[in-house]
């Protein structure tokens, strides 16, 4: 039987040592790499295609959830966390197995056995992790940054650098200071998850960062365009115009 290839993504040295130690008496399992941050994790998953990852949630640069969000093909995941009320509730709700640090050998073995049994089988609903990530975002309130893949790397854009979002069929194109990025999400999703103090849906297909607007110009009867700091012009519907007026107090 082929070895099961494991990648450990965890920012603390002793925590990585512990996982390796506990894997020792499991023949047929091979640790193919270790990462101390999310960027490294994303790169190694892409290059080495592990069967199973141990994933910490709170990590530098990229959280465990953000890492999963940018992966096309997700390996089996065993989440590890020390204390994260939101994440733990999300795990429970979505019946995702996780290890609560510190954990016992028995607990570790049972989580491992379950994960191993799932490898290669299509039993796990493909969108389970997706649902989990969404649930956590919801529980934590509004998004504070948007993460996406750019070429071989990963880009993290803080909200203040985003100028506007435009819907494109089933996707949303996000325009930010240095370019644009396509996310497989709906406008409704962003309307619900971006802070309303900063972003406003001014048109059926557009959401705009209020702080980026320099002026509003009439476009046709009942229609306006918002001129952004970058010079770009965004259509504003009649309702959008009303909402902007209220928000910006003019």
């Amino acid at each position: 039987m082929k070895n099961i290839r494991v990648l450990i993504i965890e920012d603390e040295t002793p925590a990585r040592e512990l996982i390796k130690y506990m894997l020792k008496d499991h023949p047929g399992i091979e640790v193919i790499g270790e990462c101390a941050d999310g960027f490294c994790g994303a790169r190694e998953i892409k290059e080495k295609r592990p069967d199973l990852i141990f994933l910490d949630i709170q990590m530098p640069k990229l959280t465990g959830f953000e890492l999963l969000e940018v992966l096309d093909e997700k390996p089996e995941v065993i989440f590890t966390t020390a204390f994260d009320q939101y994440a733990i509730r999300a795990f429970e709700l979505n019946a995702v197995d996780y290890l609560l640090k510190p954990y016992s050998k028995e607990r570790f073995d049972s989580a491992l056995a379950k994960a191993v049994s799932r490898i290669g089988k299509e039993t796990q609903e493909p969108d389970k992790v997706e649902k989990l990530v969404t649930a956590v975002t919801e529980a934590e309130g509004y998004l504070t940054r948007i993460v996406f893949r750019k070429g071989a790397g990963i880009k993290i854009i803080p909200l203040n650098l985003i100028s506007y979002l435009a819907s494109e069929d089933d996707y949303v194109m996000i325009y930010y200071s240095e370019g644009k990025a396509l996310k497989p999400k709906t406008m409704k999703y962003y309307e619900d998850h971006l802070p309303p103090s900063l972003f406003m849906r001014v048109h059926r297909s557009y959401m705009v960062n209020i702080e980026q607007i320099t002026r509003l110009e009439p476009y046709s009867k009942d229609n306006y365009v918002a001129v952004l700091k970058s010079g770009e012009k965004i259509p504003v519907s009649r309702t959008g115009y009303k909402m902007l007026r209220e928000k910006l107090n003019f």
């Binding site: 603390e12 512990l18 709170q58 510190p102």
Partner: protein, 352 residues
């Protein structure tokens, strides 16, 4: 602080009324007792009292300054007498010039002026002391009230603080991750595990016993913080570097226990948790003009995008505890640059 009379409309009214009565009284005395003409009596009464009414409002400022600064009693008295002398000389000089310019009987007025000068000066001194006394009483009353409210606030914070201590100051994330590290070390390096358990125990004991109203020395505060940082160092290894430059004379300074802890927790959270590079947490402390100046700096990864929620709440708590404990002289400043984060706090040096 605002002016005790001007801040309140009814007080202004009472003040005006008092001077109107004094003016009327003075005019009557001049007219009926001394026998001056109505012109002189009315002009002198109104102008001198109106003028004193205005001067009386302005002497609040020197009086407040003198009574608030912690000078010696003798020099305070000297200062009050000097202010009184200046006020009265000004009052006499301007009154005379104005009345003289107004009334037609200038020679009569000059004669009258010289005859009653002694009484006038006596009245001026009396009024000055009455006004000063009013201000003094007002100032003591407000200072007492301020002190009482600060005391009440402090007590409320102590109670609240005890509860918050475990929740906010020992971050559960830190606690459970440390326990996990120990669980790992028991397998790989039992001696180190034992060491870490002892450090965590000492740190926990310190933070549980430090009550907000019981000052500790900077020395013991730093000892507990070293424990905290050493525990974090076990977790993050080479990524965390600790530097210290503390002048020995600062170590005896008193401060509320666990005051500095949130600064280090922040430094670890925003520095180490968010960075893949080495992070240096540097502490320096020195004395300057009777103040203890403590500065905690950590470098931050310029590429990290700050996301953690609740950032800044820790610092707000530190600031309010600092102000409640030390009063106005304490200060906290935060300087955030692209690649570093610095918190500087200053407070009066009090010895244990």
């Amino acid at each position: 602080m605002t002016h005790p009379i001007l801040e309140n409309r009814s007080r202004v009214l009472i003040w005006c009324l008092a001077w109107v009565i004094l003016a009327a009284g003075q005019a009557s005395v001049i007219h009926f007792v001394y026998g001056s003409t109505t012109d002189i009596a009315v002009a002198d009464g109104i102008i001198s009292m109106l003028l004193y009414g205005l001067l009386g409002i302005t002497i609040w400022f020197p009086v407040r300054y003198m009574l608030r600064s912690n000078n010696k009693v003798l020099s305070t008295i000297m200062n009050v007498i000097l202010t009184g002398a200046v006020t009265i000389v000004l009052w006499l000089f301007i009154t005379r010039a104005l009345v003289r310019a107004l009334v037609p009987e200038k020679e009569d007025y000059d004669l009258f002026w010289h005859t009653v000068l002694v009484f006038r000066v006596a009245a001026g001194v009396l009024i000055f002391f009455v006004v000063t006394l009013i201000y003094y009483l007002y100032l003591s009353a407000t200072q007492l009230a301020e002190k009482a409210s600060r005391q009440a606030q402090l007590e409320a914070l102590v109670r609240e603080g005890e509860l918050k201590m475990l929740r906010a100051q020992i971050n559960p994330h830190f606690l459970f991750n440390s326990l996990n590290s120990m669980s790992s070390l028991t397998l790989t390096d039992p001696m180190k595990a034992r060491e870490m358990i002892l450090k965590l125990s000492d740190f926990m004991r310190y933070s549980l016993s430090s009550r907000t109203d019981q000052p500790v020395t900077l020395q013991s505060e730093m000892e507990s913080l070293r424990l905290y940082l050493e525990i974090e160092k076990v977790r993050f290894g080479e990524r965390l570097i600790i530097e210290e430059d503390i002048q020995p004379e600062c170590l005896t300074a008193l401060l509320p226990g666990m005051l500095l802890q949130p600064l280090y927790e922040n430094a670890v959270k925003h520095g180490v948790y968010e960075s893949t590079e080495k992070v240096v947490i540097r502490t320096s402390a020195h004395k300057e003009d009777g103040l203890v100046v403590i500065s905690v700096t950590n470098n931050i990864d310029p590429e990290s995008v700050v996301t953690r929620k609740g950032a800044g709440i820790g610092l707000v708590n530190v600031r309010s505890r600092l102000e409640l404990f030390f009063g106005e002289k304490a200060d906290l400043t935060v300087t955030r640059k692209d690649d570093s984060f610095n918190v500087m706090i200053k407070f009066p040096y009090r010895k244990s």
